[in-house]
Subunit: 363 residues, 2 copies
């Protein structure tokens, strides 16, 4: 139990509204059940074992992670962990291979070099690792570029020691258009994916797992032909970007940063103690710009930030908070904002009911 | 001693080149001695007690801090701590007032409300706190707006219980032009500051301390009339922004993030494992854009980042690193990049000689 309330917490402080989280989990759980999709949420968004436990209880088949520390923390509660990242480097591999034996570990590869290193290390550790071949469906970040490359890499996986070929993975992170403007993106994704799946199937390498899905495209995942699994991360708490593109409603934003008004010296402006070290200075997708908006007054924007200062633009409103008053800021991007905090204070109604360590920060 | 080398550290990892730090400290120390300025570095840049100790040994008169935790950590090595932030909120004040009795504590105020709260709390704690009145010289972040407001607030400080009026403080963070294009900014600052100093002196409130200075304007501080003290933060390690505006040379950049190449699957691009959670996604001042540049190949830019991925644009070079190779990235902004890491690995030549906790992260 926390010894604090929203009035006494030292600010800035990261808050999660548990009623909203539960509603968000119910929605995705129902959607994936309805459409026969596996749901393997990316836990980089919250980096807490506690939220992973809630996701598993709501029907997630396992945890997706991107760092060794996320793998270690989530393996304390999940028995099925997908390291959706190239497992490159001896230190990284040693830690992944040292996960508890009960952990069903799978990873992604997109180059023959990383496959070779993985296979060698897995052999050395006497452990079998599931492998998904990462495909590039247009994001141009990771992933093999052509069906021929996918076949070559999948064949290499299928024949390498101590690894098991499971299927393919992609991340449509480049699609950020509002849900109702994604027809083209859905068609494009189906077509590109279809070409890869056809080539792999023809080569006798039919994927059992076809893992995709991002929060912006979440609710249209069932329209992407061949998909078996989705890995949305940020929809567990959402953020200003997600609301801006209509992939969630404002009242589905479950994460906020509690901040205190520290100065009203500059006319038309209110300064709070949540700046770039509490919110990030990531530019967002909201047409109104800025680095966040107030949970209870979404028309009030954090117009600018310096490290420990958030400048609220109040010039267009009559609201004039006093020095010492508290507000809650929804950041542009929840995943990188959470990563700036040590603890996540759990709120139900207006009360702090618990405090969780954001244990998987760092690497 | 660290049990690691640049070849075996788990990446991404924050590195500080100690030879470069020492050279940077010598330069600022010599400059401030030459011009009779007090040097009170802002420790938010590095958040380590170790670098504060080196700064004090090089002649700094004390530490500048912006959070209670920075105050607590720096008070373990500095006896003179300036909390250059509005001391608003009971929790914040309680922690500042609980600093060791040997710590000479001063703070800034820019509203009557925060002065009243401070004075009450200091009285309750039986402690006297030095106060600087914050002036706005054009940044429009914090600070009283007019000489008349400065006089009113300084008078209130001078008569409030348990606080001592020391002088004034400002931060010219809005000036980011190259040093050789700052003539106008220097004149503007001198003129604005002059009006405040004149009004305060006429009112019998002549400031003993006139604290200003930022890294971009560091080397022109002596031209600002009336200044007694400067508080540059980032020049201890510098960054890509500082080099971009000519306020440091590239080989004065002492901070970098060690990263491993994890994918070369997309042609013309190399992906490393330092993304926005290791570098930040802060847009910078470099005309070439991006989120950082390679220490040893400054023409190679981190063109884009996602959370755990940095996309190096190699399309204009023949350099083609292999998967597993390591590089060092200089981020746009050192202060917010350091804040993403738990540890700072100390490098001399090519070897890791020590590891410091970045102990003052969080609040």
């Amino acid at each position: 139990m926390a010894d604090t309330s929203l009035e006494t917490l030292v600010t800035p402080a990261a808050l999660v509204d548990l009623d909203r989280v539960e509603a968000n989990l119910r929605r995705v759980s129902q959607y994936t059940r309805e459409h026969g999709l596996h749901w393997r949420p990316h836990t980089k968004t919250h980096k807490t074992a506690e939220l992973t436990s809630l996701q598993l209880a709501a029907g997630a088949v396992g945890a997706t992670v991107a760092t060794p520390r996320e793998a270690e923390v989530m393996a304390t509660v999940a028995t099925d962990v997908l390291y959706a990242y190239p497992p490159v480097g001896a230190g990284r591999l040693a830690r992944l291979l040292a996960l508890p034996p009960r952990t069903k570990l799978s990873v992604t590869v997109d180059t023959l070099e990383s496959l070779a290193e993985l296979s060698r290390a897995a052999q050395g550790a006497g452990r079998d690792v599931g492998v998904l071949v990462e495909l590039d469906l247009g994001m141009r970040r990771l992933g093999v570029q052509t069906p021929a490359e996918a076949v070559a890499l999948a064949r290499a996986v299928a024949t390498a020691p101590s690894v098991t070929y499971l299927g393919v993975l992609f991340y449509p992170g480049h699609v950020r258009s509002p849900m109702n403007q994604q027809d083209g993106a859905v068609r494009d994704q189906s077509a590109r994916l279809g070409a890869f799946l056809e080539a792999l199937t023809s080569a006798g390498l039919k994927p059992q797992v076809v893992s995709g899905g991002s929060t912006p495209m979440l609710w249209r995942s069932h329209e992407v032909k061949g998909l078996t699994e989705i890995r949305p991360g940020l929809n567990v708490m959402n953020d200003r970007n997600t609301a801006s593109i209509g992939a969630c409603a404002w009242d589905e934003c479950a994460f906020s940063v509690l901040a205190t008004v520290v100065s009203t010296a500059v006319p038309g402006q209110v300064v709070v103690d949540a700046g770039s070290k509490a919110l990030t200075k990531e530019e967002g997708l909201a047409p109104s710009g800025g680095y966040g908006a107030l949970l209870d007054r979404p028309d009030i924007i954090v117009r600018n930030v310096s490290e420990e200062h958030g400048m609220l633009d109040v010039s267009a409103t009559s609201w004039r908070p006093r020095v010492g008053e508290r507000v809650r800021v929804v950041p542009n991007h929840v995943c990188t904002a959470v990563n700036l905090h040590e603890r996540l204070h759990v709120v139900r109604g207006g009360a702090v009911t618990d405090t969780w360590a954001i244990a998987a920060r760092g690497w």
